[in-house]
């Protein structure tokens, strides 16, 4: 495990500071209260130091990547909203969410070193996740842009699916680790395909179907894609049988075809993906067309902070933040952001490979796969490589639930990497950099 990451962390904080300085000095933006910046940087440094002291074998490189991504996110959110009436305080709100997320991460780091006991409650996690996701259908839930995904709890609104997905990954990891041997074994064959005994699939299939049905009813396409793909990938990793991947592709094809024919809003998305240009001024395609114009405008090195026109994209600070990064930091900056995601995912897979027991391996793999697919879905959607489905860009996009959820995920990876790094270190007496 890469245990020290002081230099990358400092670089990430410097980048954020420079970004804000550019906006304030060159663009003449009103500086947000300095206390927010100080507490943001202070919190990340505290998290880093506590992790280094308390979990000496953990992969601190993850924290440096988190610092860079949240930093770029803050700079872009501030740049996109500081002069927009009504939402000019979005960046400071995001800082508050990052502070809450970091506090949760600290809590996990301090008290969940023995994360294995989470697996004892796997069925509870699955049940809680489903109930939590279903709760948006109650009067507490409310609708934004045609998708009823948010829950009002007092002054804050949260998006249950952001948390439910982590609980579900814990469930899948715990269950599959218990049953993977019997699931890998074959008991009969059908049309020449070896089929495992179906009874072991009951719980996984029930949770999987329930979560998908809920998301489809809620019109949440991006999340349904995530909740569809991650369990299948985990099943493949747990059993090593390509049959599950093939089955997944077939199910995906059937599901996609059904959705295309029966859900009107999917047809619009596909049309906006295949050929948005004739409808550039209409609601369906305006966002994606503006996003493409912005990315093109950025060129290789970008327009420079504050010089782009990405405020023309509706909802740019959440789903489309990658377009504004590409516009103002250019191809080079957007590449750095993607590389940072790649490093995060690489570290996650590495942690999964080094982890000693199957449940930890699967948990690390599951959260990493979720993180990777989420990034892929939204970056692909924004660049019109795949049909657009709304998910946030982890850590970068504005959004409380998304930020806190991503911090929880990072906390889990940290505690898994501590245990894996410790076992690995004692085995080979390897002294990490």
């Amino acid at each position: 495990m890469a245990r020290r990451a002081t230099i990358p962390l400092i670089l990430a904080l410097l980048i954020t500071a420079l970004g804000f300085a550019t906006l304030i000095v060159v663009r003449g933006a009103t500086s947000p209260p300095l206390i927010y910046g100080a507490s943001y940087a202070g919190m990340l440094i505290i998290v880093y130091i506590v992790t280094r002291v308390w979990l000496p074998h953990a992969d601190a490189l993850l924290l440096a990547v988190v610092a860079l991504l949240t930093g770029i996110g803050l700079v872009m959110i501030f740049r996109l909203t500081y002069d927009v009436k009504g939402i000019e305080n979005l960046a400071t709100t995001q800082v508050l969410w990052i502070l809450i997320g970091s506090a949760v991460l600290l809590f996990i780091v301090l008290f969940f070193r023995n994360y294995e006991r989470l697996f004892d409650y796997k069925y509870l996690f699955a049940l809680a996740a489903i109930v939590f996701m279903a709760s948006v259908a109650t009067p507490l839930g409310y609708e934004v842009n045609g998708a009823k995904l948010w829950l009002h709890l007092g002054p804050v609104s949260i998006q249950p699916s952001e948390f439910a997905r982590i609980a579900l990954v814990i469930f899948y990891a715990g269950y599959l680790a218990d049953k993977r041997e019997v699931m890998a074994a074959t008991s009969r064959s059908f049309l020449g395909i070896q089929l495992p005994a179906l009874k072991y699939f009951g719980p996984v299939a029930a949770v999987w179907v329930a979560s998908l049905v809920l998301l489809v009813l809620e019109n949440d396409l991006g999340d349904s894609l995530l909740f569809f793909a991650v369990p299948l990938l985990m099943l493949y990793v747990a059993t090593g049988r390509a049959a599950y991947v093939i089955l997944g592709v077939i199910l995906f094809a059937i599901g996609a075809l059904a959705a295309y024919n029966f859900v009107g809003h999917v047809q619009l998305r596909v049309e906006a993906w295949l050929n948005p240009w004739p409808h550039a001024q209409q609601q369906c395609c305006y966002q994606v067309v503006q996003s493409l114009f912005n990315i093109a405008d950025g060129g290789i090195t970008g327009t420079g902070l504050g010089a782009g026109f990405s405020q023309t994209i509706p909802e740019v600070q959440t789903d489309f933040i990658f377009a504004s990064v590409a516009s103002e930091f250019g191809l080079l900056g957007a590449t750095v952001v993607l590389l940072a995601f790649l490093v995060f995912v690489y570290r996650g897979i590495k942690i999964s490979m080094l982890a000693q027991d199957p449940a930890s391996k699967l948990l690390a793999f599951g959260v990493t796969a979720m993180f990777a697919i989420q990034t892929l879905i939204i970056v692909g959607g924004v660049t019109k490589a795949i049909p657009l489905t709304g998910v946030t860009l982890p850590f970068v996009s504005y959004g409380g639930s998304s930020v806190v959820g991503s911090f929880v995920l990072t906390g889990l990876l940290l505690v898994i990497s501590e245990k894996a790094g410790k076992a690995f270190g004692s085995e080979s007496a390897y002294k990490g950099a």
């Binding site: 420079l18 993977r180 902070l305 504050g306 930091f329 940072a340």
Partner: protein, 159 residues
């Protein structure tokens, strides 16, 4: 116009720092990569990573069951699994006959192959089949070096 130069400078510096970050992060990542020994590929059903103390027997490429210790068979007796299947039991029609071991059922276990892996499967025997001292449930994939215990006989599976 006077804003152009500081903006350009800020932009260049920002990109430089971004790549410095990636360089710093990737350098650590790769240092880490180099120091990892050749990982055994993660296979389902595999026991914990092979320990150093486990002595390996080199064979000629054909998977074999080698007797480690037994009350009834001579140690180091080799049973090649030529066509990828093998039946083990007390009955004389078995490929590996464990006669006069009261803890072995007539048709005790069989080895089957599927997708490059050999699996051992207990055939509802009375006393069970143990791979690396763990009782098997259903077909269990075998990896070179695994021990298989049936009755009093311990085999080592080698590829």
């Amino acid at each position: 116009m006077d804003l152009q130069i500081p903006l350009l400078a800020a932009k260049a510096l920002l990109l430089l720092l971004l790549f410095a970050f990636i360089y710093a992060v990737v350098r650590r990542g790769i240092g880490d990569l180099r120091s990892i020994p050749d990982d055994e590929p993660y296979r389902p059903g595999a026991p914990a990573p092979a320990r150093e103390d486990r002595h390996r027997i080199i064979s000629k490429g054909i998977p074999e069951m080698v007797v480690e210790s037994s009350d009834i068979l001579a140690p180091d007796t080799r049973f090649p699994i030529g066509d990828g299947t093998m039946s083990i039991g007390r009955s004389s029609s078995s490929d590996v006959v464990l006669k006069s071991d009261d803890y072995v059922s007539g048709r005790h276990a069989r080895i089957t192959h599927h997708a490059d892996l050999l699996y051992i499967e207990d055939l509802n025997s009375t006393n069970g089949t143990f791979v690396n001292d763990r009782k098997t449930i259903g077909a269990t994939p075998l990896r070179s070096g695994d021990t298989v215990r049936i009755g009093s006989t311990i085999f080592r599976y080698v590829e």
